[in-house]
């Protein structure tokens, strides 16, 4: 039933898109009403609510409906939601034949949520802001836009590769090299326009004005915030972006997933954070009492332990291989209450280039080879090496790390877990000064392209703070392959599927990460929200702008 509901929604959404536009979509059998308030629960606070800093799913859910970029994604579930549509741009970009120049024109008459006019020159200022604030994906800009790297290093005061004309609204972006997924890069919520005068400081507690159906207000750090309707958005008439049905969306941070799930089950709150795992103890109740408002959503994702190649012991390939041999991926399935599909390759199922062969080390769904792992650790002379394993407090991530620590101890390391608060976890391990040896990491697709996942193994993405390449992979072969493959336009990805598979098999062979699976995400809403019309977006999860209260 869950599968049927998802498929139906996806097909309906695509059909609506093709025929009459998404604004007409979302009707369902249940009677619905406009307006009202919904309460969303989140197990973890967003890393940042500032659009040019936020990079977690919790941040993206709020930011993508508050800060519309030049391009954005269709508000649809399933594959339909990965389709790029014009956002603040009139059309999709015109790309030069050499793939190095992108030209877009801003829609006429756009205004921010504070009523001030949107200008083309706000775009380069927005990109500069994301770079200056060390957004975790800033290498998508600095690696490709002419002058962005010089701006990042302070060698220039602006990005020379972006030219704008405020009169015509034309924006031209020059790239240093073709990047096939660059359309997706300018569709990041981090590229969502903010006024050029916005200070280049963290404004998570008082987010700047944007263009989107909702505005982020009343931020109480680590406790919650409120989304209210942007009074100017509906009059802009941007096609295919819903104006939003609810008047207000209250977001509360609830660190206890048990309580979070219980509240949604009992209709005391309206949505469970899809970034959290439903507690095993409540799953039977949810499946029996709330089957009509719960589904498992498959989003391409990779859950793994990073193995820092710059520090001992994981600068030794044998140590990394040992970890991959020793992991019992079946254990993670149980720790995730069954919401995890075991994997050993970095590119997940659903992403072009996902290898289907056997794992190079160990098995993805069989027993681990502990003897081999112990032998490798012994051979490398690494027995007794102290290892600190970094993890988050929320379940089941803490349990993953505790299990992983016990495995490391079994194969000869002297491992101790270091569990820290969810809200500071990624900035902490992404800070070069921390020197994190190994720990939990995960990646949900930013866009359906393998190059998105390979940001995490691209040497050019290594940065001193907010680093996402936690393993600090810097491999010449990977770099040369990425230079070739990243240039392939997204529309021709299938032509290089084999090359991506080879690259992923190569990095698995190098054991740069210890991948253990791909999680299914829960779409779990209260009876107050019309489940059928509520979009579960493949990139930004719960699409609050499509929610309607049931009549």
């Amino acid at each position: 039933m869950r599968r049927k509901a998802t498929t139906t929604t996806g097909v309906a959404a695509i059909a609506c898109l093709a025929a009459v536009g998404i604004a007409a979509c979302g009707s369902s059998a249940a009677s619905t009403k406009e307006g009202g308030t919904a309460t969303v629960l989140m197990g973890t606070a967003p890393d940042f609510l500032d659009p040019q800093e936020g990079y977690t799913t919790q941040a993206a859910e709020a930011d993508w409906i508050s800060y519309t970029p030049l391009l954005t994604y269709a508000h649809a579930s399933g594959q339909g939601g990965t389709k790029l549509i014009p956002g603040l741009a009139q059309d999709l970009p015109q790309v030069s034949k050499d793939g190095k120049t992108y030209t877009v024109t801003l829609r006429k008459g756009l205004v921010y949520s504070d009523g001030k006019a949107v200008k083309a020159s706000d775009f380069p200022a927005t990109i500069e802001r994301a770079i200056k604030l060390n957004w975790g994906g800033k290498s998508f800009f600095t690696n490709y836009i002419v002058g962005a790297s010089a701006y990042d290093t302070g060698k220039s005061s602006s990005i020379s590769g972006i030219t704008t004309d405020d009169t015509t609204g034309q924006i031209t972006i020059h790239l240093t090299q073709p990047y096939g997924a660059f359309d997706n890069v300018i569709a990041f919520p981090a590229a969502g326009l903010v006024p050029a005068s916005t200070p280049k400081t963290n404004l998570s507690n008082n987010p700047p004005p944007g263009v989107g159906p909702y505005m982020i207000t009343n931020v109480s750090p680590n406790r919650g915030w409120t989304m209210v309707k942007n009074p100017h958005f509906a009059s802009l008439g941007i096609p295919n972006i819903p104006n939003g049905h609810l008047d207000t969306i209250k977001v509360n941070i609830t660190s206890n997933t048990q309580s979070e799930a219980q509240q949604v089950l009992e209709d005391q709150a309206d949505a469970f954070d899809p970034g959290d795992t439903l507690p095993a103890s409540l799953l039977p109740q949810i499946q029996s009492k709330a089957s009509g408002r719960f589904s498992r959503e498959t989003i391409p994702s990779t859950f793994y332990f990073f193995l820092n190649t710059r520090t001992a012991p994981f600068n030794n390939p044998k140590a990394r291989q040992a970890v991959n041999y020793a992991l019992d991926r079946r254990a993670f399935v149980r720790l995730a209450s069954g919401f995890l599909k075991p994997e050993c390759y970095f590119l997940p199922d659903g992403i072009t280039g996902h290898p289907t062969g056997n794992c190079p080390y160990g098995s993805k769904d069989g027993a681990p080879d502990l003897a081999k792992a112990q032998q490798l650790v012994k051979q490398a002379g690494l027995e007794g090496t102290p290892v600190t394993v970094w993890g988050q407090t929320r379940a089941p991530r803490k349990q993953y790390v505790e299990y992983y620590t016990s495995v490391l101890n079994k194969i000869g390391f002297k491992a101790t877990p270091k569990i820290i608060s969810d809200s500071v976890y990624f900035p902490t391990i992404g800070n070069a000064k921390t020197g994190a040896q190994t720990g939990f990491a995960d990646w949900l697709q930013d866009f359906p392209n393998p190059s998105d996942f390979y940001l995490l193994m691209n040497a050019k993405s290594i940065q001193p703070v907010n680093n996402e390449n936690f393993s600090n992979v810097n491999d010449p072969h990977v770099q040369s392959e990425l230079a070739k493959l990243n240039a392939v336009p997204a529309t021709k990805l299938d032509s290089v599927k084999g090359e991506w598979q080879s690259l992923d098999q190569y990095t698995a062979k190098q054991a740069y990460q210890a991948v253990y699976g791909s999680e299914e995400l829960p779409k779990f809403l209260s009876t107050r929200i019309d489940f059928g019309s509520a979009v579960f977006h493949p990139l930004y999860l719960n699409d609050w702008s499509t929610w309607q209260l049931t009549g």
């Binding site: 095993a280 039977p284 399935v333 495995v407 608060s421």
Partner: protein
Amino acid sequence: MSTELLPQLARRPASPQDSPRPVAGAGPYTLAFRRLRRDRVSLAFGAVFLVITAMCLAAPLYAHHIAHTGPADNHVTDTVRIGGQTRDVVSPDGLPIGPTWHGRFFLGADQNGRDIAVRLLYGGRNSLEIGFVATAITMILATLTGGVAGYFRGPVDSVLARVLDLIWAFPVVLLGIALGTSLALGGINLGLFTLSGNSLLVPAVIIGFVYIPYVAKPVRGQVLALREREFVDAARLQGLGTLRILWSEVLPNLASTLIVFVPLMIANAILLEAGLSYLGAGVQPPNPSWGTMIADGIALLPSAIHLTLVPGAMLVLAVLGINVFGDGVRDALDPHSPIRLGH
């Protein structure tokens, strides 16, 4: 006080067995012991605490010889044979096995397939160790601070009293969380004195520190009164130095107060440790403690209530045991004492 029983002894009719020697007076501690011996309720609770302590000390024996697993050993994909049947330690849906009432997984397992009984005993060891060490830290530092402040008065007293007021001004739990969270990450590094973030001594030091004013203030008050007493004046006139007076004249007269505080402080330290560990600011994984076990069990509360109930019950019993015993000690040493630990 030390002669209160003498009139009764004097009135007792002589018997042939009576020693011809003069009847010796009972000391205050002997009297206190006699009163405590008559307080059956306190003794019973003290015995409960002793039994729990003994069980926890025997944790390695239980783990090695009966459960055959350590407190941090994960058995997520393992099976166990119970009554001729093979059962998953953790089900494919993530639900851990309940109590088996056999040697292995006697009280069941947690989400990671760790033996609850083993973790309970090791957790108890950790909780009690922290309780004792924290109490030792509090008692030593509070006696020093309160003693010096009360004896020297003047500017020394003013400075120390303000420092104590400053610590006192913070709610104990909030101060504990703030210190625990920050120190759990980086540990303590004071040159020669270094502790890693996951050392059990970190929560012990934090708890020992935050409770200093609760003992130092009453100690200071007592010393302020004691320093004016004749025997201190006499010692001073005899030419005894300050340290000697504090050690041999003041400290012995503080002893009963300090003894009364010890069990009460242990109870409070164990409770605070459980609270901090529950909130992630106390004992750090993989070390178990009753507080961390309760926190881990909350996620499975409806279907695996034993994960929360068992460590909770142990915590209540241990704290109740030492607290009631402590009250008995206080009543025995000085039935009119106003000493109470307030928050």
